[in-house]
């Protein structure tokens, strides 16, 4: 048996390209019997060694033998009446594959070049002025302010007699969503504005609790408004 040095071929196309290059074959006029023979030797070797031959290789072996058989028959002709080379598809596949194999080399060169560069390694010493954070905001507005505003809101809401006791389907979660949606339209809203339309006390209370929840989560900030009895809620999203 003549010596072939086995490589880690990426697949059957890679193996075929290897034969073509090694034996200086014309890729456009592949001697199909010869290359099939080489290919089969490789596969037989693997089988002889009780090694599992990958399906991709078996498929290629079948394809090669099919082409080889077709080469012996009268050539088929296309619509224009021109002979169809049974190897055409294989050649096209080899060229296409080769094209990307070359690009892989280009990429490999870029990879080498890029590995010569280093990016900045240590960023922790950079001075960062924290953008207004929660603690900072709460300096301006105390819980007392919050309570005061809340009380005022209750006092100012349109008074309507509620005769019936009814169960209200209002949850903190819903009110969180309501607040967030209100903030979506305008990044700032005053508390009075937020609750002005609410008729039921319980809804305002739940909204208030939802506000506290959002403050706790750091999703909104509160700040003073012009009025003593109101305050401004604003979103802490990245661009408001």
């Amino acid at each position: 048996m003549y010596k072939i040095k086995l490589q880690n071929f990426e697949g059957p196309l890679d193996l075929l390209l290897f034969f073509i290059k090694r034996d200086e074959l014309d890729i456009y006029d592949i001697p199909i019997s010869y290359i099939t023979e080489e290919f089969m030797k490789y596969i037989e070797l693997m089988e002889k060694l009780d090694l599992e031959v990958a399906g991709d290789f078996i498929l290629m072996a079948a394809t090669l033998m099919q082409i080889k058989a077709k080469m012996l028959l009268p050539k088929e002709r296309d619509e224009k009446g021109e002979e169809i080379d049974p190897r055409a598809d294989l050649i096209a596949a080899l060229l296409e594959y080769k094209r990307y194999k070359e690009m892989a080399e280009e990429l490999s060169i870029s990879e080498s070049n890029q590995r010569k560069l280093s990016f900045r390694g240590y960023y922790s010493a950079d001075n960062k002025e924290a953008p207004e954070d929660l603690n900072l905001l709460l300096k301006n507005v105390t819980l007392y302010d919050l309570m005061k505003a809340f009380k005022a809101a209750l006092a100012e809401r349109p008074r309507e007699a509620v005769h019936q006791i009814q169960r209200l389907n209002v949850t903190i979660e819903e009110q969180i969503e309501f607040i967030i949606n209100s903030l979506d339209k305008s990044n700032e809203i005053s508390f009075i504005q937020l609750v002005i339309e609410m008729r039921e006390k319980i809804r305002i209370i739940v909204t208030f609790v939802a506000l506290l929840e959002l403050v706790k989560m750091g999703r909104i900030g509160l700040k003073e408004s012009g009025s003593f009895n109101d305050f401004i809620i604003y979103g802490l999203e990245e661009n408001g």
Binding site: L6, N127, E177, I180, M217
Partner: protein, 223 residues
């Protein structure tokens, strides 16, 4: 010391993962250019001063700081608000792992309630849900018919857009993920071992005792 090393020292400080000590700088230089390169800690100190002077003269926005454990570049304090803004934007933008996990659960299980999400994740998920709501990646769509009628969460159109999907059915199927994610490492390993064995056998058969012997075939050549 010749100041041919000024740029080398700068590049070492610039690219070091952590503040770099004078002795590490010296070691790197001597390792590359030879032990006989004479360079002292004082040389490094002086070079750093020189670099900082150049930075000041050239109005660079950064300088080299001396921290307890070495030298490092840092932007000057006067740019702190810009730097701070940038870092806060970035930290907010990155979908944290927890948020992503929550999002994945919602995407694949929608419509889903918070208790169900929390059962899967094993942790309270209020914050994550709110983050996702805020980013408009999920939204609330009605309520479940179960006790307490919890809210149902679904993904949004924004979610689809973000992930380049036309519709929610386009999400990669768990089966497809398995297919890609299967551990084929061992197959690859096996293939390499196999190739080596084949080669050995051939080489023995052809009776050629070349100097490669039992070494393997694969590009160790360059070592």
């Amino acid at each position: 010391m010749d100041n041919i090393y000024i740029s080398v020292i700068e590049s070492l400080i610039f690219s070091s993962d952590e503040p770099i000590s004078p002795s590490e700088v010296i070691r790197a230089i001597q390792e590359i250019d030879g032990e006989d390169i004479s360079i002292t800690k004082e040389d490094i100190e002086k070079t750093v001063d020189e670099l900082n002077e150049k930075y000041t003269a050239g109005e660079r926005s950064f300088q080299i700081l001396r921290l307890a454990n070495g030298f490092t570049h840092a932007t000057r304090p006067e740019y702190a608000k810009y730097v701070g803004y940038l870092s806060s934007v970035k930290s907010k933008r990155r979908l944290s792992h927890a948020a992503l996990e929550t999002l994945a659960i919602i995407a694949y299980k929608q419509p889903i309630t918070k208790p169900e999400i929390e059962q899967i994740r094993g942790v309270n998920s209020d914050y994550m849900l709110n983050t996702l709501l805020e980013k408009n990646l999920v939204t609330i769509k009605g309520r479940a018919d179960t006790v307490g009628r919890p809210l149902l969460y679904v993904t949004t159109d924004e979610f689809l857009k973000y992930f380049g999907l036309n519709k929610i059915e386009d999400l990669p199927k768990p089966r497809e993920i398995d297919e890609i994610m299967q551990d084929e490492d061992f197959i690859e390993q096996k293939r390499k071992i196999m190739m080596n064995e084949i080669e050995e056998i051939i080489e023995n058969e052809t009776g050629e005792a070349d100097n490669r012997g039992s070494e393997n075939t694969s590009g160790k050549d360059e070592a």
